[in-house]
Amino acid sequence: MEGLFSILNTELLVATIRLSTPITLAAIGATICEKSGIVNIAMEGIMIIGAFFATVVAYYTGNPWAGLLAGIISGGLFSLIHAFATVTLHLDHTVSGAVLNILSFGIVRYLMVLIFGHPGTTNPIPVGLKAYQWAIPGLSRIPVLGPIFFNQTPIVYLSFVAIIFFTFFLKRMKVGLHLRAAGEHPLALETIGVSVYKMRYLGVLISGLLSGMAGAYLSIENNVSFTEGMTNGKGFIALAAMISGGWHPIGAFLAALFFGFADALQIRFQIIKLINVPEELFIIFPYILCVVAVAGLVRRSRPPKADGKDFMIERVE
């Protein structure tokens, strides 16, 4: 039992934040996207794109901030393919999302060879965003909460900002309300003269920007190089976080924290050998929780009414 207490410390919670940040960002993105009525399962692929371009730019400019910007923008641009396919071309949302996921891995493999001469992993970037870790004076001295929330790296702070901003965005801002209407009752929105297409494009774009940032977090903040497949399912966990979070940014954050915590905990369980079972059981622990959470919470949370439903403007001649 002595071992058990040695792992229940602030570090466990700091690790939770580290592991949950990419999931939080992608889950908020997915939430906004689905609020606008577009199902998006392509976060995994968008994250890979963001992670890759962030690394390329950070590697060649030597400036991780330029890398971050590149990650966000490339994620946004890549997501527009999804918007074009689902909104303009009226394709099935899930099919388009799946295509994006496959496409992203192909694009990255191709560009890896083109730019770095080999696939697999890139060379380390000169400076990562971790170097810009910033302890907020005063606040960071608060026991426990200080190191967790107020002594963090840039993208983690940005994820906190995103949680607050997008909660406000959906609740209070006019454009946020219009976006929600596009996902609840698109026809009503169109009749008051607001373009459903535009709102849905915006929703997808936001999910792309945030997922791109999540990718940049993995490659240039948490680490210093890009590895193909480094998202390792985090984009899909984000989907689960969105659902268990009840299509709400704060809910998505809490669910992502929960998954991050489960992962941080299982690593420590392995270290103290809490129970003598095969490692595989520890490894699947977060995923089991994920399934349980989605199955348990999904009944209480409700997706937007027109989520995944195509909307076509009928022109009367």
């Binding site: 891995f105 080999h118 697999g120 948490n222 680490n223 390792n232």
Partner: protein, 349 residues
């Protein structure tokens, strides 16, 4: 997308067949022997297995004049078509790289009895086709040597570097728990204990070979518990572990190939599987006509496993540690050291 690329592959293969068909008449005997490899999903550039095998092919091209070819696998369902495709395309010897290609290479070997197949890190069972050779490494021997270094450095010589602390703790980050990974781990633990009986070695299985974030978290959690040298047998996941060591100012031990270049101020040494050497020796055996099915083992006796140079740490590592490594290597070659290969064997020691 997939259909298109598959169609493209078929077209390329067809074109290749057609062209070899045309060329055959004039090429006659002096056409170079074609030796090829299909990577696992890690692909070239993994600074590990796939790169090592490829370097072996290039070495064979240099020394034996063979023509190397590479096909990269994007997903596990590519393995059989890639391997078979290479054989049908005129390769005399096809390498499958990595344990996860085991079933695929045996299927491809059975379908293409005229070509020789070799599987790096793959075990040939008794009923495997006769044109298939499994190439295994004695990872435990490399792990043991790395363990000897780590075991001595973390306690006896902890004052040699400010990256080492007073806690007698070492860490091991594992990828998926498969036999070669297990051999590295138990060899490392046995080696560390042989020079430092009270050492505590903690290990974490990440369950992935590509998840840098998880490798980093595992290493950070170990460092928190006092580990000051972390060994990884986790492929690209291990890059995250090395990065964690760099950030926290402790030492790392790389795996498979000399990983010093990943972080020269952090990677003390690497437990090497000299895949280059083993790949080359296999090509040579086909070239000389001595290739045989079954299993080939490459270990300390063939100089195909070992530890990499200390590079910038060379002056920091005490002579006593280097002497011990040399002595243990000699003892292993003389068969005086028994290194366990599974956790069950380790527990019995």
């Amino acid at each position: 997308m997939k259909k298109l690329s598959l169609m493209f592959l078929v077209l390329v293969l067809a074109a290749g067949l057609f062209m070899t068909g045309c060329a055959k008449e004039e090429a006659a005997d002096d056409a170079p022997m074609i030796v090829s490899m299909a990577t696992d999903v890690g692909g070239l550039g993994d600074k590990s297995f796939n790169d090592g095998a490829y370097a072996g092919l290039l070495m064979a091209q240099d020394k034996l004049g063979v023509e190397p070819r590479v096909v990269e696998s994007k997903q596990q369902t590519d393995y059989v078509p890639n391997l078979s495709g290479l054989a049908e395309d005129g390769s005399s010897l096809v390498f499958a790289v990595g344990f996860l290609m085991a079933d695929a290479v045996i299927e491809a070997a059975a379908n293409n009895p005229d070509a020789a197949f070799a599987g790096i890190d793959i075990w040939a069972a008794d009923d495997a086709p006769k044109n298939f050779q499994g190439i295994s490494f004695n990872e435990h021997e490399a792990g043991y040597l790395a363990g000897v270094v780590a075991g001595m450095m973390t306690k006896e010589y902890a004052s040699a570097s400010d990256k080492l602390n007073d806690d007698n703790v070492l860490g091991v980050v594992l990828g998926m728990f498969i036999p070669p990974v297990e051999k590295f781990e138990v060899g490392f633990i046995a080696g560390a204990r042989s020079v430092n009986p009270t050492v505590e070695v903690i290990s974490v299985t990440s369950g992935s070979f590509v998840d840098q974030a998880k490798g980093k978290e595992a290493a950070l959690a170990m460092i928190e518990q006092g580990a000051d040298i972390i060994f990884h047998a986790a492929g690209l996941t291990g890059l995250g572990a090395i990065n964690a060591c760099k950030e926290e100012g402790v030492l790392a031990i790389g795996v498979d190939v000399d990983q010093n270049s990943v972080a020269p101020d952090t990677v003390l040494t690497s437990a090497e599987k000299k895949i280059v050497q083993a790949t080359y020796l296999t090509v040579e055996s086909v070239h000389n006509g001595t290739f045989a099915g079954g299993n080939a083992y490459y270990g300390i006796n063939e100089d195909a496993v070992g530890i990499a140079p200390f590079h910038s740490f060379d002056s920091m590592v005490p002579q006593a540690v280097k002497d011990k490594v040399a002595a243990v290597t000699a003892d292993m070659k003389a068969g005086k050291v028994k290194v366990p290969t599974t956790r069950a064997e380790l527990d019995k020691m």
